[in-house]
Amino acid sequence: MLSQHLPILLVVVPLLAAPIIVLLRRSFPSWLVATLASIATLAIALPLLARAVSEGVISYAIGNWPPPLGIEYRVDAANAFVAFIVSLIGVFVMPYCRRGVSSEVRAEEHYLFYAMMMLCLSGLLGILLTGDAFNLFVFLEISSLATYVLIAMGRDRRALVASYQYLLMGTIGATLYVIGIGLLYLQTGTLNLADLAVRLPAMGDPRATLAALAFITVGISLKIALFPLHLWLPNAYAYSPSAVSAFLAATATKVSIYVLMRYFFTIFGETVVFDARYTGVILLALSLAAMFIPAVVAIFQTDVKRLLAYSSVSQIGYITLGISLHSVGGLTAAVAHLFNHALTKGGMFLVLGGVVFRLGGSALDRMAGLGRTMPIASFAFVIGGLSLIGIPGTAGFVSKWYLVTAAMAEGQWWLAGAVMLSSLLAVIYVWRFVEVAYFREPPAGHPPAGEAPLSLLLPALAMIVACVWFGLDASWSGNMARAAAEALAGGWK
């Protein structure tokens, strides 16, 4: 009985948790509700994923209004898998928030923080599940607005400016997206994504479709932080509270990437997007630029959080590179990296959060001697770094395997070299941390040796362990990524 309502429950549970938290107002109960809600979403996402993989497309009509009149939630292996990633990250991050937030957010704002986390989670899951183009915009704005608030809660005043800048860029992106779907609506008279997927090919390829494609691509790319539209990201990640950086880095951009893939492969279709014009080439060029330029910028950062943020922009390039190959193999690589990078970067931000908790800042200079003062944390951070590089035995290697074999299968042999060279850049920025942490003496006035509290350390370690586990045994995640890729490319027919 209940199992039929899983799609809507996934969105509603965190959505309802938010007002409950606001009513509770006290810090601890708010945290408890938020944590329970995020565990509940994972408990919902897992069976949903299992059903989507075994049964194919699940359609859920909201309020029993049949689509396309009513709003439809449409779940298949692709969005169920991304929803699983998002809720999994939520479960890792929420226990961490209790202690992490106490040091970074003012006590009277704690309940607002948790409420915003829930709204953000709900918005992200809504984006994934909804089968309605405009509804997607609404969820996009719900999650974005919550994100702006979360970023602004960072204790540095620069967090305010970062949030403001993200607000401008994010709103422009969302508005461009609305223009795009408006143009689609004017042509086809429907906003239901599955309906659009049927009607658009019948229209041929008029110029309005091209305009819609351009608006949607640019709008979503702003949210993805696809190079060179990434300018909001480094500050937003660097100055927001650590838990927020981890959560955003692991989920927000990933969800937008899913939206782009959905539009490219399911709704517009490969013929319109790739065969008729140079989208693939442009995306390829931007991905390559993303793989190299922000990675070089990352090398010169003096703040580890910013370093990780630029590394994220660079890693997003790998994902979009997979998309630009427009093959099932490329999509598999993109989805696999979505998952693997979420684990890696989320884990690294959480570890870093524990370090910041102890040291009071994330400047690279402060990390001197960290290998001795916080051995577990710095070791975990290095493992995460190895995954960014793509050393075998970590999750990052699995992505690289899929990406390069997909490029080779398409006959793009030279791309293999590009991917390898850009991972050498990752070696350099990871090794900057290694040399500072292990070969420098702790600076004077350094806090005494000791790890972060267990409530911070354990979730972080859990993510890093997961990152190694899914590097050694990727049979499950690899199969999921392939199922997701086939679902995306196969369409909703």
Binding site: F137, L160, V161, Y185
Partner: protein
């Protein structure tokens, strides 16, 4: 079609560009938000104008009325307006906080203050 047939689109695009220009070119944070508001409003127009049919009436089924305007865009834009208001409110709230923290709402001054901080912290270390 004629210029008149595309009239609404031209207005939309003009408003879009004016809004975007303000966001990019102005340094004042409030003015940027005003530009953002214009940018969003242009989109409302894009949706609403094609929904209106000449001679169409409100979509209430009644005798003698054959041509109805499409109500769906209005509903959508109602939602979009709500989202826009929320964004604007949040943006303004952020500007208030920025003013408290920096004592300025000019982007250039704020970035200058941040750059000074950066230099100072580097000198200390």
């Amino acid at each position: 079609m004629t210029f008149a047939g595309h009239y609404a689109y031209f207005v939309t695009i003009l408003l879009l560009m004016v809004g975007l220009f303000i966001v990019i070119a102005r340094s004042n944070l409030i003015k940027k938000l005003i530009g953002l508001g214009l940018f969003q409003t242009a989109v409302y127009l894009l949706y609403i104008s094609p929904g209106k049919l000449i001679g169409g009436v409100a979509p209430i089924v009644g005798e003698g009325f054959e041509v109805y305007s499409n109500p769906l865009p209005h509903v959508l834009i109602l939602t979009a307006i709500v989202v826009g208001v929320a964004t604007l409110a949040l943006g303004l709230a952020l500007v208030v906080r920025i003013k408290e923290a920096y004592g300025s709402i000019e982007e250039e001054e704020i970035l200058g203050l941040d750059a000074d901080d950066e230099l100072k912290s580097r000198d200390r270390s």
